[in-house]
Protein backbone atom coordinates (compact mmCIF):
# COMPACT_ATOMS: atom_id res chain seq x y z
CA UNK A 1 0.00 0.00 0.00
CA UNK A 2 1.30 3.45 -0.90
CA UNK A 3 2.54 5.64 1.92
CA UNK A 4 0.82 8.89 2.82
CA UNK A 5 3.85 10.81 1.55
CA UNK A 6 3.65 9.04 -1.81
CA UNK A 7 -0.04 9.81 -2.10
CA UNK A 8 0.58 13.45 -1.26
CA UNK A 9 3.39 13.59 -3.82
CA UNK A 10 1.07 12.15 -6.46
CA UNK A 11 -1.48 14.91 -5.80
CA UNK A 12 1.35 17.46 -5.99
CA UNK A 13 2.60 16.10 -9.33
CA UNK A 14 -0.87 16.40 -10.77
CA UNK A 15 -1.18 19.92 -9.32
CA UNK A 16 2.10 20.85 -11.00
CA UNK A 17 0.81 19.62 -14.35
CA UNK A 18 -2.34 21.73 -13.87
CA UNK A 19 -0.29 24.80 -12.98
CA UNK A 20 2.09 24.22 -15.91
CA UNK A 21 -0.95 24.11 -18.21
CA UNK A 22 -2.26 27.34 -16.66
CA UNK A 23 1.12 28.94 -17.41
CA UNK A 24 1.17 27.52 -20.93
CA UNK A 25 -2.22 29.08 -21.69
CA UNK A 26 -1.29 32.57 -20.50
CA UNK A 27 -1.11 35.08 -23.32
CA UNK A 28 -3.11 32.84 -25.70
CA UNK A 29 -6.00 35.07 -26.68
CA UNK A 30 -7.81 32.26 -28.46
CA UNK A 31 -8.25 30.43 -25.14
CA UNK A 32 -11.12 31.78 -23.01
CA UNK A 33 -10.36 32.92 -19.44
CA UNK A 34 -12.73 30.29 -18.05
CA UNK A 35 -10.60 27.47 -19.45
CA UNK A 36 -7.38 29.00 -18.18
CA UNK A 37 -8.87 29.53 -14.71
CA UNK A 38 -10.12 25.96 -14.60
CA UNK A 39 -6.52 24.75 -14.49
CA UNK A 40 -5.63 27.25 -11.76
CA UNK A 41 -8.60 26.13 -9.66
CA UNK A 42 -7.61 22.47 -10.08
CA UNK A 43 -3.96 23.18 -9.21
CA UNK A 44 -4.95 24.94 -5.99
CA UNK A 45 -7.38 22.20 -4.96
CA UNK A 46 -4.85 19.43 -5.56
CA UNK A 47 -2.13 21.28 -3.64
CA UNK A 48 -4.41 21.43 -0.60
CA UNK A 49 -5.34 17.77 -1.05
CA UNK A 50 -1.62 16.87 -1.21
CA UNK A 51 -1.10 18.36 2.27
CA UNK A 52 -4.25 16.68 3.57
CA UNK A 53 -3.16 13.32 2.16
CA UNK A 54 0.25 13.60 3.80
CA UNK A 55 -1.47 14.27 7.12
CA UNK A 56 -3.44 11.04 6.70
CA UNK A 57 -6.75 12.72 5.99
CA UNK A 58 -9.47 11.03 4.02
CA UNK A 59 -9.65 13.04 0.78
CA UNK A 60 -13.28 13.67 -0.02
CA UNK A 61 -14.34 14.31 -3.63
CA UNK A 62 -15.39 17.89 -2.86
CA UNK A 63 -14.19 21.28 -4.05
CA UNK A 64 -14.40 23.19 -0.79
CA UNK A 65 -10.87 22.88 0.59
CA UNK A 66 -9.20 25.80 -1.17
CA UNK A 67 -10.88 28.79 0.49
CA UNK A 68 -9.91 27.71 3.97
CA UNK A 69 -6.55 26.00 3.53
CA UNK A 70 -4.66 27.56 0.62
CA UNK A 71 -3.78 30.67 2.62
CA UNK A 72 -2.40 28.48 5.45
CA UNK A 73 -0.17 26.67 2.96
CA UNK A 74 1.09 29.89 1.39
CA UNK A 75 1.68 31.37 4.85
CA UNK A 76 3.97 28.46 5.61
CA UNK A 77 6.05 29.35 2.54
CA UNK A 78 6.70 32.80 4.03
CA UNK A 79 8.03 31.52 7.36
CA UNK A 80 11.62 32.59 7.88
CA UNK A 81 11.64 34.95 4.92
CA UNK A 82 11.92 38.70 5.09
CA UNK A 83 8.77 39.85 3.33
CA UNK A 84 7.76 43.30 4.60
CA UNK A 85 4.26 43.12 3.12
CA UNK A 86 3.67 39.49 4.05
CA UNK A 87 0.38 40.20 5.83
CA UNK A 88 -1.00 42.13 2.86
CA UNK A 89 0.01 39.31 0.51
CA UNK A 90 -1.77 36.78 2.70
CA UNK A 91 -4.91 38.93 2.93
CA UNK A 92 -4.91 39.02 -0.84
CA UNK A 93 -4.29 35.26 -0.95
CA UNK A 94 -7.30 34.69 1.32
CA UNK A 95 -9.59 36.74 -0.91
CA UNK A 96 -8.18 35.12 -4.04
CA UNK A 97 -8.52 31.59 -2.68
CA UNK A 98 -12.18 32.22 -1.79
CA UNK A 99 -12.82 33.38 -5.34
CA UNK A 100 -10.85 30.52 -6.88
CA UNK A 101 -12.94 28.02 -4.94
CA UNK A 102 -16.08 29.59 -6.42
CA UNK A 103 -14.84 28.73 -9.92
CA UNK A 104 -15.90 25.13 -9.31
CA UNK A 105 -19.53 24.70 -10.44
CA UNK A 106 -20.47 22.76 -7.31
CA UNK A 107 -19.56 25.73 -5.07
CA UNK A 108 -22.32 28.35 -5.14
CA UNK A 109 -22.16 29.92 -1.65
CA UNK A 110 -25.81 29.31 -0.87
CA UNK A 111 -26.92 30.06 -4.41
CA UNK A 112 -25.49 33.57 -4.26
CA UNK A 113 -22.61 32.83 -6.63
CA UNK A 114 -23.64 30.60 -9.51
CA UNK A 115 -20.81 31.94 -11.68
CA UNK A 116 -18.30 29.20 -12.44
CA UNK A 117 -15.83 28.34 -15.15
CA UNK A 118 -17.56 25.25 -16.60
CA UNK A 119 -21.34 25.46 -17.01
CA UNK A 120 -23.90 28.12 -18.07
CA UNK A 121 -26.19 29.49 -15.37
CA UNK A 122 -29.32 31.59 -15.16
CA UNK A 123 -29.37 34.68 -12.93
CA UNK A 124 -32.29 35.91 -10.81
CA UNK A 125 -33.55 38.07 -13.72
CA UNK A 126 -33.77 35.04 -15.99
CA UNK A 127 -30.72 35.96 -18.04
CA UNK A 128 -28.51 33.08 -19.10
CA UNK A 129 -24.75 33.53 -18.76
CA UNK A 130 -21.93 31.37 -20.06
CA UNK A 131 -18.42 31.09 -18.59
CA UNK A 132 -17.08 31.96 -22.06
CA UNK A 133 -18.24 35.57 -21.80
CA UNK A 134 -18.11 36.07 -18.04
CA UNK A 135 -15.62 38.39 -16.36
CA UNK A 136 -14.19 36.41 -13.44
CA UNK A 137 -13.09 38.06 -10.18
CA UNK A 138 -9.79 36.10 -9.88
CA UNK A 139 -8.59 37.44 -13.23
CA UNK A 140 -8.49 40.94 -11.75
CA UNK A 141 -7.07 39.86 -8.39
CA UNK A 142 -4.22 38.02 -10.12
CA UNK A 143 -3.12 41.18 -11.91
CA UNK A 144 -2.37 43.00 -8.64
CA UNK A 145 1.26 42.82 -7.44
CA UNK A 146 0.17 40.68 -4.50
CA UNK A 147 -1.63 38.40 -6.94
CA UNK A 148 1.57 37.72 -8.81
CA UNK A 149 3.33 36.96 -5.53
CA UNK A 150 0.54 34.53 -4.65
CA UNK A 151 1.15 32.72 -7.94
CA UNK A 152 4.88 32.46 -7.17
CA UNK A 153 4.15 31.07 -3.70
CA UNK A 154 1.66 28.65 -5.19
CA UNK A 155 4.26 27.29 -7.59
CA UNK A 156 6.90 27.08 -4.84
CA UNK A 157 4.46 25.22 -2.61
CA UNK A 158 3.60 22.70 -5.29
CA UNK A 159 7.19 22.14 -6.38
CA UNK A 160 8.34 21.66 -2.79
CA UNK A 161 6.19 18.52 -2.65
CA UNK A 162 7.02 17.01 -6.03
Amino acid sequence: MASLLELGRAFARQAKADLDTWDFLQGRKEVPACHKLLFLQMACEKLVKAHLAQAGQDIKPVHTYTAKHLETILRHRLVGRSVPNGRAILRHAKHLSQEIELLAPAVKRGGQRPDNCEYPWEDSMGTIHTPLEWSFVPSGLLLAPAGRTVLKLLRESIESLV
Binding site: G56, T72, V79, R87
Partner: protein, 112 residues
Protein backbone atom coordinates in the same frame (compact mmCIF):
# COMPACT_ATOMS: atom_id res chain seq x y z
CA UNK B 1 36.32 21.32 16.80
CA UNK B 2 32.87 22.64 16.07
CA UNK B 3 29.73 20.83 17.05
CA UNK B 4 26.29 20.96 15.48
CA UNK B 5 23.49 21.44 17.96
CA UNK B 6 20.76 18.82 17.87
CA UNK B 7 17.42 20.12 16.65
CA UNK B 8 15.25 21.32 19.51
CA UNK B 9 11.60 20.60 18.80
CA UNK B 10 10.27 22.98 21.44
CA UNK B 11 12.33 25.88 20.13
CA UNK B 12 11.36 25.15 16.56
CA UNK B 13 7.68 24.94 17.52
CA UNK B 14 7.94 28.37 19.14
CA UNK B 15 9.77 29.76 16.09
CA UNK B 16 7.05 28.43 13.80
CA UNK B 17 4.32 29.83 16.03
CA UNK B 18 6.01 33.25 16.16
CA UNK B 19 6.24 33.36 12.38
CA UNK B 20 2.57 32.48 12.04
CA UNK B 21 1.52 35.11 14.60
CA UNK B 22 3.55 37.66 12.68
CA UNK B 23 2.10 36.75 9.29
CA UNK B 24 -1.55 36.26 10.26
CA UNK B 25 -3.01 39.00 12.42
CA UNK B 26 -6.23 37.03 13.04
CA UNK B 27 -4.51 34.21 14.92
CA UNK B 28 -5.38 34.75 18.57
CA UNK B 29 -3.67 31.70 20.08
CA UNK B 30 -1.45 28.79 19.07
CA UNK B 31 -1.24 25.58 21.09
CA UNK B 32 1.01 22.55 20.78
CA UNK B 33 -0.67 19.28 20.00
CA UNK B 34 1.09 16.26 21.44
CA UNK B 35 1.07 12.80 19.96
CA UNK B 36 1.96 9.44 21.44
CA UNK B 37 5.23 9.35 19.46
CA UNK B 38 6.24 12.92 20.21
CA UNK B 39 9.91 12.11 20.89
CA UNK B 40 10.48 10.37 17.55
CA UNK B 41 12.39 12.52 15.04
CA UNK B 42 9.83 11.96 12.29
CA UNK B 43 6.88 12.94 14.47
CA UNK B 44 5.78 16.38 13.28
CA UNK B 45 5.57 19.53 15.33
CA UNK B 46 1.82 19.85 15.63
CA UNK B 47 0.21 23.26 16.12
CA UNK B 48 -3.42 24.13 16.76
CA UNK B 49 -4.05 27.67 15.57
CA UNK B 50 -7.13 29.63 16.67
CA UNK B 51 -8.04 32.02 13.88
CA UNK B 52 -10.92 34.51 14.01
CA UNK B 53 -10.84 34.85 10.21
CA UNK B 54 -11.51 31.28 9.19
CA UNK B 55 -14.55 29.10 8.69
CA UNK B 56 -15.47 26.12 10.86
CA UNK B 57 -14.58 22.82 9.21
CA UNK B 58 -13.61 20.58 12.11
CA UNK B 59 -10.15 19.18 12.72
CA UNK B 60 -8.39 19.16 9.35
CA UNK B 61 -4.62 18.69 9.71
CA UNK B 62 -2.30 19.93 6.96
CA UNK B 63 1.14 18.34 6.86
CA UNK B 64 4.33 20.18 5.84
CA UNK B 65 7.81 18.85 5.15
CA UNK B 66 10.82 19.97 7.18
CA UNK B 67 12.44 23.20 5.99
CA UNK B 68 16.01 23.17 7.34
CA UNK B 69 16.95 26.27 5.35
CA UNK B 70 14.66 28.34 7.56
CA UNK B 71 15.50 26.51 10.76
CA UNK B 72 12.62 24.04 10.82
CA UNK B 73 14.16 20.57 10.80
CA UNK B 74 11.04 18.67 11.84
CA UNK B 75 7.99 18.06 9.71
CA UNK B 76 5.02 20.03 10.92
CA UNK B 77 1.26 19.70 11.01
CA UNK B 78 -1.06 22.68 11.28
CA UNK B 79 -4.68 22.52 12.39
CA UNK B 80 -6.61 25.75 12.09
CA UNK B 81 -9.87 26.23 14.00
CA UNK B 82 -12.29 29.03 14.80
CA UNK B 83 -12.61 30.30 18.40
CA UNK B 84 -15.95 28.47 18.59
CA UNK B 85 -14.35 25.21 17.50
CA UNK B 86 -11.60 25.70 20.07
CA UNK B 87 -14.26 25.93 22.78
CA UNK B 88 -15.82 22.73 21.42
CA UNK B 89 -12.43 21.01 21.72
CA UNK B 90 -12.22 22.17 25.34
CA UNK B 91 -15.67 20.74 26.06
CA UNK B 92 -14.80 17.48 24.33
CA UNK B 93 -17.44 18.03 21.65
CA UNK B 94 -14.87 18.25 18.87
CA UNK B 95 -12.41 15.38 18.99
CA UNK B 96 -8.73 15.56 18.17
CA UNK B 97 -7.27 12.69 16.13
CA UNK B 98 -6.55 9.49 18.05
CA UNK B 99 -3.61 9.84 20.38
CA UNK B 100 -3.39 13.62 20.13
CA UNK B 101 -3.82 15.80 23.18
CA UNK B 102 -3.95 19.55 23.59
CA UNK B 103 -0.61 20.83 24.86
CA UNK B 104 0.56 24.16 26.15
CA UNK B 105 -0.11 27.61 24.77
CA UNK B 106 2.68 29.07 22.66
CA UNK B 107 2.27 32.81 23.23
CA UNK B 108 3.89 35.15 20.74
CA UNK B 109 7.45 35.93 21.81
CA UNK B 110 7.39 39.38 20.31
CA UNK B 111 3.95 40.72 21.23
CA UNK B 112 3.57 43.07 24.23
Amino acid sequence: MSTIAAPNKDLEAQRLADAHYQLEENITAIYRLNGVAETLPNEPIKLLEVNTNTVPSGIVPLRFDPAPSIGISFPSTIVEVTPGEFQQIGRGELKLPDGWTLGGLLPPSNRG
